[in-house]
Symmetry: C2
Subunit: 280 residues, 2 copies
């Protein structure tokens, strides 16, 4: 596996970061995951805009942002990616001694890490739907920044895995925010609901595409928080992410929805999303 780290392409065995990297010491970094369709990075400008926003909010001064796209394509070649790729890129504030909570006084260069892998398609999950569990949202109050400060996500995600669920859906003060790495949607009376853009959610790129599809196909869609105690009043649910695309939710904790059948509107959205991706 070849990766890109701090301006060099290297085999993963030779790719190192310093233990004084602030990404390691403080989670002082941001990241993006991007996939390809037809070997082309999907909605790359959106990912780039979000990355710029994350860098801006964390005040990490990263100058080589325009070079990332080519590096990813280069890594796809170097790693002989045959079908579709999933690219991961992370930028931390850089490495400095001594460890200080505040930004280092002397100017340091950010650390860059980029890797690509063969994308595993979740065809079965997307056809059959998945189980999710509900978990308290204990994350920080700036979930709009795609930062590597992800320990709460790790712990909630592990809980989901142990309960044979595909995702943990997070609940803050009785409101559903999003999944650990997905956005959450619920449908009632042919209207789609999802949590509004705020500091409680990350604005997913697939979420954005779904909202665009709703507008194009005149589906009523409201960015409003879904109340946990009202869940049973909804007809359909789905989650979205770069790798899960649009995945139907067929059970939530011990509640099986519609006898475990993915919902109709969810399936229609999947179909138009699939078309859009195929034509990308």
């Amino acid at each position: 596996m070849m990766v890109f780290i701090n301006n060099r392409f290297l085999p993963i065995e030779e790719a190192h970061i310093s233990p004084f990297d602030r990404g390691f010491l403080f989670a002082d970094g941001v990241y993006e995951s991007i996939r390809t369709y037809n070997k082309k990075l999907f909605r790359y400008p959106d990912h780039l805009d979000r990355l710029k926003r994350s860098l801006n909010e964390t005040r990490i001064e990263f100058k080589e942002i325009e070079s990332i796209e080519n590096i990813i394509y280069e890594l796809m070649i170097k790693n002989d990616i045959e079908d579709e790729a999933l690219a991961y890129l992370q930028i931390s504030r850089g490495s400095a001694i001594p460890r200080t909570h505040s930004f280092p006084k002397k100017k340091i260069s950010p650390s860059t890490f980029i890797s690509v892998q063969n994308l595993k398609e979740n065809t079965k999950e997307q056809t059959d739907g998945v189980k999710v569990i509900l978990q308290e949202d204990v994350r920080w109050l700036r979930c709009d920044i795609k930062s590597t400060s992800l320990l709460p996500v790790v712990l909630a995600s592990q809980k989901a895995t142990e309960e044979n669920a595909a995702e943990a859906i997070l609940v803050r003060d009785g409101m559903i925010t999003e999944g650990t790495h997905t956005n959450f949607f619920a449908i009632k009376n042919e209207t789609i609901y999802t949590a509004p853009k705020s500091r409680f959610i990350l604005e997913g790129i697939t979420r954005k595409v779904v909202l665009e599809l709703c507008e194009r196909f005149k589906i009523d869609c409201r960015e409003e928080f879904i109340v946990k105690d009202d869940l049973k009043s909804f007809d359909e649910f789905f989650i979205t992410s770069t790798t899960k695309e649009i995945t139907p939710v067929t059970s939530i904790d011990y509640w099986t929805i519609n006898n475990g059948e993915p919902g109709k509107i969810t399936k229609s959205l999947q179909a138009v999303f699939k078309k859009l991706a195929e034509d990308y």
Copy 2:
């Protein structure tokens, strides 16, 4: 500088972690900072207990915990620490490919990083007192775990630095929780107040020592949240941490307390703490 990393003592230039270390990707790790008095690690058993608790809560299985103490002393020798030392140790869940939010399916070994440095005493701060600023507490809801998921702490701490303050004191829902890397105390009518043990604060070792001193010297001390809007009704303030020990707070945002003079009870506590440390 010699450090200890994954079972080896190495010069820092040769000490590396993988970019796939979950400490780097997810802040999936915990840490401790420990100082010496008379070249002896201060309250080491308390730090060890807290580390065990952090490992337990994050379910990181670290078996070599009993060896840490000797490694730190060894590093003090290898680094020719002449006076007192500040030791930093971090344990992450380890390194795994591919990146998955849940714990890796195959068993991995935790990564260990330990470094020591000459301790810089903050004599002036402790004599004169410091300015602090108030900042919204946007951290996650498990601040009782000493994890490396510290981006909110970095950003708040940087804000303090830019306002020439020594610390940012965090306020959640109108209540003062703690500083970014200190506990916060306020005194009124000879009674000391500090936030109660809960998931909103880290139980500092120096905080614990202060509570013990209060008990020993029959000073009334209450573990109750201090309300931000009541701050001006208190007479004295101080912050505690391993490196700041007991540091008087002489101004909060634009409010100068007692004409900038450290408080009497604070100074008494400093004196008994100093004696305790000297005799350690």
